[in-house]
Structures are given as structure tokens and as C-alpha cells.
């Protein structure tokens, strides 16, 4: 039990450290670590004893299948989120030359409001809105 707690603590600490950095890639990696920390907590919520397969009649002491379904769903969602964050980092790299979004905003965009028509297709690649709804049906 306590080993799991230490793992969660280390993952959460590393994730928090990375999220506090300025670069988007580091932030994305931080969320990957933080997501792992939470997934381990989720997994632990079903109990950590070694038990049988969760199929009716196959085991006298079946494991709880629900936390695994939770974790799988959470992983799928985290996958989509990471893809989107990395796409943002990519776009920030194109715009600023580095992935630091707090960097200078080009002068021509200072007064920018949205007179520019939305571009017809994908500047931010990877994370399209449609991929998420799919992820939730998974487990």
C-alpha cells in the first residue's frame, strides 16, 4: 500500500514541477505524469489485493472490474488531451519560434480581434473535437 502512495507522490510531484514550467511541451509532459498519478489512485481505489478474474463463476474472489474501466477511459481521454496540447505546442513553435506561449506577441496581432475569418482547415492539428466523444464510449 505505502509503495503505491510513494509512487503516486513522486509522479504528482514531478508532474506539478513540469506543469509550472513555461514551455508547452514540458506542460504536456507534466500532465502525462499527473495523469499517471491519478490513474494509479484510481486503480488503487478498487483494492490492491491479488484476486481472480472478474467473470461470473470463474473465480470465488473476483477483482473489481470498474476501476480498470475507469482507468482505461481516463487513459483514452488523456491521450486525446496530450495530442491536443502537443498540437498547441507545435503551433506555438511555428508562431514564436519556441514553444513558450508567454513570449512576445507579434506587433500586428496586438490590436488583433477577430476580423480575420477563421481558416477553413486545421491550424491546430491532431486534436479535433470529434475524437473526444469517441473516447468516452470505450471501456
Amino acid at each position: 500500500m505505502s509503495a503505491i502512495a510513494v509512487v503516486v507522490g513522486v509522479l504528482a510531484a514531478g508532474g506539478t514541477y513540469l506543469i509550472l514550467q513555461r514551455g508547452v511541451v514540458r506542460i504536456a509532459l507534466g500532465f502525462v505524469l499527473l495523469g499517471h498519478a491519478v490513474n494509479v489512485v484510481l486503480l488503487a481505489s478498487g483494492g490492491l489485493q491479488e484476486r481472480g478474474v472478474p467473470i461470473v463463476g470463474a473465480s470465488s474472489d473476483p477483482a473489481d472490474p470498474l476501476p480498470q474501466a475507469f482507468v482505461l477511459t481516463a487513459i483514452v481521454i488523456a491521450f486525446g488531451m496530450t495530442a491536443f496540447l502537443l498540437a498547441l505546442a507545435f503551433r506555438a513553435g511555428e508562431l514564436f519560434g519556441l514553444d513558450d506561449t508567454e513570449g512576445a506577441i507579434p506587433p500586428d496581432e496586438r490590436v488583433d480581434r477577430d476580423l480575420d475569418e477563421a481558416e477553413p482547415d486545421g491550424n491546430v492539428r491532431g486534436g479535433s473535437e470529434t475524437q473526444v466523444p469517441g473516447s468516452e464510449e470505450d471501456p
Binding site: G46, D114, T130
Partner: protein, 484 residues
């Protein structure tokens, strides 16, 4: 009827996927209208068939309760479905009139947002609520970064990072709740926080995460930093749906899991008061219409959770009334800001002036909405605030009642500031060329009619709001419908 409930979420999601690959913008608009009508229609039907205080519930996949994911609609949920559908429709109409729905991502994102909002409103399962909120946020990430300009990428990064952090906290809370209570079904969790410390801690984490999503102080800073930089119609859509889903979920979780515990309500009242004051003061330093309105959004969220903190039926009813009319008013104000920006080339107060002569209709719509926001009689904002403050005093919450009144005056001052700078005074000497489009004011005009109608005929909504408040407060009926 109850088995049709999931369709309120599923239909917009399915059609969101479909419109993403349709090349003709006209077809996309028609499909979007159909999806929105389906969602709103189910909401109307739900309000209609829960008039006796009953709750519609269905178990997904036909699994037995409490193992299945349950979806349930009471009057509150039905009412919110109607409001979300209405706002989405009008914002998409504005985008169409403005010529900003050229990208398939606009329709797909807005429909996915609506579907997820409906799902989060209807679900009676904590983990499922997490999933819906993620769907909601991912569709909003896509909308906020449409166009991919530097400002939007920066706004998007702040937004995504803050909300992902909130989601992680939410998930950790769900894990703690499941570990101690053995279920994430809201029916099973009714009042569970009182009996178990683990559930109380987990549910508190969930509430904190929802506070991030609803932009309550001290976890509000992301909202005014990101909303003003999204496309205008997207800001309007977010103001009407996105942060309000957090509020709806907050109402549900706090009433059901904490069962209105006094300590929780006191904490909420403190947060509500601070949120009101910080939001309204933050608006003082801002110079663009949308930035000012974004800070007011934080401030007004304080009023909404104040209703939750009061917790009596009168308080909750006033909160529901406030929520419905406020969504209309705030969306109207953002759409006015969008129209100003479109026609004058900017919504920065220093570059505007004399609009009352140039565009009297626009000025009228702004004035009505701004007065409704501040709570000037006879508009609906006045009715809502009087009811809220009265419920606060009746519940002996004098501090929050006084704060609410004081903040109303500050809100009015802020609206007067916009009015003086943009609508009064002389026109700018070197106007920025805008791109006027016909009919741009129609969606905002429709929404601005809401505070007038609801102000003069408040009784009609009041009956429904009271029923919604009773359905929120009567958690026994809700729990037995969800987990019989």
C-alpha cells in the same frame, strides 16, 4: 419518455461528427439546427413531464441499477437543456450572420459542446460526469483556438492547462469517493458525505474541480485571460454554456452528496461573496468590452453559487431564475460586443464613441442587457436579485445579502463606463474600417427580449424555477429514481 433522455446528448454528438465532413455550409447549418432542436425538444418534454415533482431516469445499456450509468432529468435539468439549446442556436446564428462559420470545426465544435453540456446535465454518475466534462472541454479547446492566431494559441494554452489540472483533481476525487463508498452513482451517494470522511474529502475535491470549471475565486484567473481572445461568437457561446455546466454540476453534487450540510453552505457563501467582489473589481482596470464582460462573468457566478449557499427552496428557486435570465443577458452582451467589433473594427473602449447616434438599435439592445445585468427594474435581473437577497436575509445570511446589493451598484457603474465610452460621446476621428453585415443584431435582440419578458411576466418562469428548486432540494425522490 425517459429512454429518450440520452438522445439529448447523443444526437448533437452524432451530428457533430457528421457535419465535420460535410462540405456545404448550408447543409451544416440545417443539420446543426436539427440537432439543437432535438436537444431543446427533449428538454421541453422533460420539463413538461416532471411537473408533478417526479424524476425521469434511465439506465444505459439496460444494466441493472446501481451498476449501469444512470441518466436522469428533473425540472432543473430539463430547463437547463432548453436554455443550452437556445443559446447554442443563437450563437451559431450570429456566427453565420457574421460569416464566421466557414470552418466545419465551428458547427462540429458547437454541437459537440451542446451534446456534452446535455450529457453533463443529465448524468447521475460521477465518473460519467467527468467524461462529459472532458468532452465539453475538448470541444471548447478546439473552438477557442479556431484560426490559430498567436493570441488564441496563448489563450488556448492557459485555458487548456488550467482545466486539465481541474480535471486531474476531479478524477482523484472520484477515485477517493469510489474507494470509500464503493459506487459513483449519485443515487447511492445521497448524503454519503455526512457518514464517511473519505467520501467527504473526495466529494470536496470534485467540488473544487467544478469550482475551477465555473471560475470561482480563487481559481478564476484563467477565464478573463482566455475568453476575450476567442472568436466573439465563441466567447458568447462559452459564457452561456461552458462555465454554466460547471454551475449546474455544482448544484447537483452539493445538493445530493452533501445533502445541504450547513458547514459546506457556509464555505460556499464565503466563496460566493469573494467571487462577486473580486470579479467586479477586476473589471475596473479593463478597457475592452469583452474583457470587462469576462470579469463580470466571474462576478455573476458568485450570485449563482450564493443561491447554492443559501440552500433553502426560496434561495435555490431564485438561483435557478437568476441562472436562466442571466445566461440570456450575458450572451446578449457578448453578442453586442461582437456586433460592435464587427461593425466598428474594434471593441476597445478607447477607439469607440458616439455609437448611440450611429447605431441606435445596437445601443438599445446593449442598454437593456446591461441594465438587466446590473439589476435595474423592471427587468428580470431586478426580480432575480431581489429574490436572491430576500432569500439570503430570510436565511439569516446578512453578510452575503449586503455584498450582493453592493456589487450590483458596482456592476451598474461598470456598465455605465462602457456606455459612456462606446455609445455616448463623440465618434472617433479616425475610425477603424469595420465590415458591417445585415441582421447581425437579431440574435442579440432575441436574447435581449428575454429580460424584458421575464421582468414583466416573471410569474411564468417563477413557477418553473420554483419547481426546479424543489426537484433539486428533494434529493430522496432523485436518488430513488436513479438507484431504485
Amino acid at each position: 419518455m425517459s429512454r429518450f433522455l440520452p438522445l439529448a446528448a447523443a444526437t448533437p454528438l452524432l451530428l457533430a461528427a457528421a457535419v465535420a465532413v460535410v462540405p456545404a455550409v448550408v447543409v451544416r447549418r440545417v443539420v446543426a439546427a436539427a440537432a439543437i432542436a432535438t436537444c431543446g425538444g427533449i428538454g421541453v418534454a422533460a420539463v413538461g413531464s416532471t411537473g408533478d415533482g417526479g424524476v425521469l431516469a434511465t439506465q444505459l445499456g439496460g444494466f441493472p441499477p446501481p451498476f449501469a450509468i444512470a441518466m436522469a432529468a428533473d425540472t432543473f435539468a430539463g430547463l437547463m437543456l432548453v436554455v443550452f439549446a437556445l443559446v447554442t442556436g443563437l450563437c451559431l446564428a450570429f456566427a453565420g450572420l457574421r460569416g464566421h462559420d466557414g470552418s466545419p470545426r465551428a458547427h462540429a465544435g458547437a454541437l459537440a459542446l451542446l451534446g456534452a453540456a446535455a450529457g453533463a446535465t443529465l448524468t447521475a454518475d460521477l465518473f460519467n460526469l467527468f467524461v462529459w466534462i472532458e468532452v465539453l472541454l475538448l470541444s471548447s479547446y478546439v473552438l477557442i483556438t479556431i484560426g490559430g492566431t498567436a493570441r488564441r494559441v496563448r489563450a488556448g494554452t492557459i485555458y487548456v492547462a488550467t482545466n486539465l489540472l481541474g480535471s486531474s483533481v476531479f478524477l482523484a476525487g472520484v477515485a477517493l469517493v469510489y474507494a470509500t463508498a464503493g459506487s459513483v452513482n449519485l443515487g447511492v451517494l445521497r448524503g454519503a458525505a455526512a457518514g464517511s470522511g473519505g467520501v467527504a474529502i473526495g466529494a470536496t475535491l470534485v467540488v473544487v474541480a467544478l469550482a475551477v470549471k465555473s471560475a470561482l475565486v480563487p481559481v478564476h484567473a484563467w477565464l478573463p485571460r482566455s475568453y476575450p481572445d476567442a472568436p466573439t461568437w465563441v466567447t458568447a457561446l462559452f459564457s452561456g454554456t461552458l462555465t454554466k455546466v460547471g454551475i449546474v454540476a455544482l448544484f447537483r453534487v452539493v445538493t445530493v452528496v452533501f445533502d445541504g450540510a450547513a458547514g459546506v453552505r457556509e464555505a460556499i457563501l464565503i466563496v460566493a461573496g469573494v467571487t462577486m467582489v473580486v470579479g467586479v473589481l477586476g473589471a475596473v482596470g479593463q478597457t475592452s468590452m469583452r474583457a470587462i464582460l469576462s470579469f463580470h462573468m466571474v462576478s455573476q457566478v458568485g450570485y449563482l453559487v450564493m443561491a447554492l449557499g443559501i440552500g433553502t427552496i426560496a434561495g435555490l428557486g431564485a438561483g435557478v431564475f437568476f441562472l436562466v435570465q442571466y445566461i440570456a443577458v450575458k450572451t446578449a452582451l457578448f453578442l453586442v460586443a461582437g456586433a460592435v467589433e464587427s461593425q466598428e473594427g474594434s471593441d476597445d473602449l478607447e477607439e469607440l464613441g458616439g455609437l448611440v447616434h450611429k447605431r441606435p438599435a445596437l445601443a438599445a439592445v446593449f442598454l437593456i442587457s446591461a441594465f438587466a445585468l446590473a439589476g435595474v427594474p423592471p427587468l428580470s435581473g431586478f426580480v432575480a436579485k431581489v429574490a436572491l437577497v430576500r432569500a439570503a436575509f430570510d436565511g439569516a445570511a446578512y453578510g452575503i445579502g449586503a455584498t450582493a446589493v453592493a456589487v450590483s451598484f458596482l456592476t451598474l457603474l461598470s456598465m455605465v463606463k462602457i456606455w459612456n465610452a462606446a455609445f455616448w460621446g463623440s465618434m472617433p476621428e479616425e475610425p477603424i474600417p469595420g465590415e458591417p453585415r445585415a441582421g447581425l443584431l437579431v440574435p442579440a435582440g432575441v436574447l435581449a427580449a428575454v429580460p424584458i419578458v421575464l421582468g414583466l411576466f416573471a410569474e411564468s418562469l417563477w413557477v418553473v424555477a420554483d419547481r426546479a428548486a424543489r426537484s433539486l432540494a428533494d434529493v430522496v425522490v432523485y436518488a430513488s429514481a436513479v438507484a431504485p
